[in-house]
Subunit: 319 residues, 2 copies
């Protein structure tokens, strides 16, 4: 049974909002605002932050200032800033920007890979092989993203064995962490256990992470289900921003606040302060001029202490 | 572990949208539209539908046409229409309207009961005792709602033992089903297991149901957690409408579509057709002139079959 005894004591959260969230924004966000947002996330205790990507500025203009963002960020002990890199040019930029890690990305299906990165899965893995080697040689930590592990907007259902096959070839590159992504937010708990359970048997010394989207409200249930197959690393995006510009139907990464609200309630340690993340999200939402995107911020603060405090996103009491 | 083997084969869904959802609507909804909505829900296979309430029309004007709604509904074998009743006058109206069941309601805390029904918990249970007796004498099924079992907007945290104490006194009235309600949507999985697990030990021959709000995105995780303490009956509201007019911070019952999306994905039988519920929700949202409220309708249909079909709420392809 999935009772307290079977849940992990501690969960590691990988914050992807500054990259996966901001890459989709239509408005131009000042570099200084991105830096402030990321520093607030670090202040909240997040220790793995995907700060930007070094893809082509033409493809993702919103993150064209990756070098400037990373140059401005104060480095802290125990905090890893990573950047998404698609190719040798991206890795070169990331190295010069003094990241601690890089993330490579392909998909579980050729249909998605071809639309997203204009390569087949096999071609992408072949292209990544020297990148992983070079990144490791430079002392960087290497993460691999595997998109559409639970359903593809172009080719439909994805068999767990298909995910396993690509996952094993990705792991063969020597990556340190593999993130199984529910890119369009269609996964349900049994499927998470089937896919993550299968991959975990072959994960070796790497870490297995789950990257949920809350598109259909199943993200936290999927996290709970993943606990039971030993997954303890989860991606989340402050304020719930994000989605994928190449994935129709995708919307809303699992919000860091929402994940923390559940984990805090379960007594699972994360080392991250919910109030601090909420402050970072409110800051960014103020810059973007939009209402809260996470369920937690929409609902208002709930104090589990003796006196109820129910407030809305701007901190005013609603009672 | 909470794997497939430990999940129930079948789950019973209690549809509360026509009562718990519609009671909060500001717009006047024509009686014929309510009837059509409910008939569509019944067409979808829902077998337990809370159709209206017989509270004072001054307190809840939106449901003042309860008699007319129930008079127009076609009765079907195996389908139970229930109505919420607060007092002897309400029960009398419900009996004349030929319901198959009634629902009584109090709270886990005096602070909430006093604001919601203007009685202490003890006073409400004393007042309900003859109602339960009379309802049973008339051959009706009797459900009891227990509000704010996981947190109260007026008195804060609620101890599991407090819930148990009120639950036992409620069960002593001989009710057939007890629904533990997360009225303001603050529950997390460990808390659900603690509270529902404790009450279940004393449930006797009655059924234990869980009434989730998805205010903070935890509803489906809470359903999953509840499976592990043997709960197999869940309330849900088509289109995710609802909340509680007396509960600050409350918003959004768990949407029936969202619950079904997860259960269908897990292979858990419900006897309810997701497409049919989505059709009922779309019909009602059209009457209300508002965008989809459930995550499923917001996200668009996802076909688990071989060919991906991702459409938006109006059924148009987004890809």
């Amino acid at each position: 049974m999935s009772t307290r005894d079977h849940w992990p004591r501690r969960v590691r959260i990988v914050e992807v909002g500054p990259r996966d969230g901001l890459q989709n924004e239509a408005a131009t966000i000042p570099t200084a605002a991105k830096v402030r947002f990321i520093e607030l996330l670090a202040d909240a205790g997040l220790a793995d932050i995907e700060a930007t990507s070094f893809v082509s500025p033409r493809a993702v203009p919103q993150l064209a200032d990756g070098e400037a963002v990373l140059a401005a960020l104060r480095r802290r002990a125990g905090l890893r800033y990573t950047a998404l890199v698609p190719n040798a040019r991206g890795l070169e930029r990331a190295l010069r920007a003094r990241v601690q890690g890089v993330a490579l990305f392909t998909a579980a299906t050729d249909a998605f890979a071809e639309r997203n990165i204009r390569m087949s899965v096999a071609e992408s893995l072949a292209a990544f092989s020297p990148l992983a080697t070079d990144a490791h040689a430079a002392g960087l930590w290497v993460r691999g993203y595997l998109s559409v592990c639970f359903g593809c907007p172009y080719s439909g259902a994805v068999a767990p064995t298909t995910v396993l096959d690509v996952a094993r070839r990705f792991l063969d590159l020597g990556i340190d962490e593999l993130a199984l992504a529910d890119t369009i937010g269609v996964a349900t708990p049994g499927q998470v256990q089937a896919v993550a359970g299968l991959v975990r048997e072959h994960i070796g010394t790497a870490t297995l992470a789950l990257h949920c989207h809350d598109t259909r409200g199943t993200a936290l249930a999927n996290v709970l289900a993943a606990f039971d197959v030993g997954v303890t690393t989860f991606d989340a995006s402050a304020a719930g921003l994000g989605g994928c510009p190449f994935a129709p139907g995708a919307s809303g990464n699992l919000a860091t606040e929402d994940l923390l609200y559940m984990l805090d309630g379960m007594g699972v340690e994360t080392g991250v302060q919910l109030d601090g993340v909420a402050a970072a999200s409110r800051y960014l939402l103020g810059v973007l001029g939009r209402p809260p995107a996470s369920r937690y911020l929409q609902a208002g603060r709930w104090d589990r202490g003796a006196a109820a405090v129910v407030t809305n996103a701007s901190g005013q009491a609603k009672g």
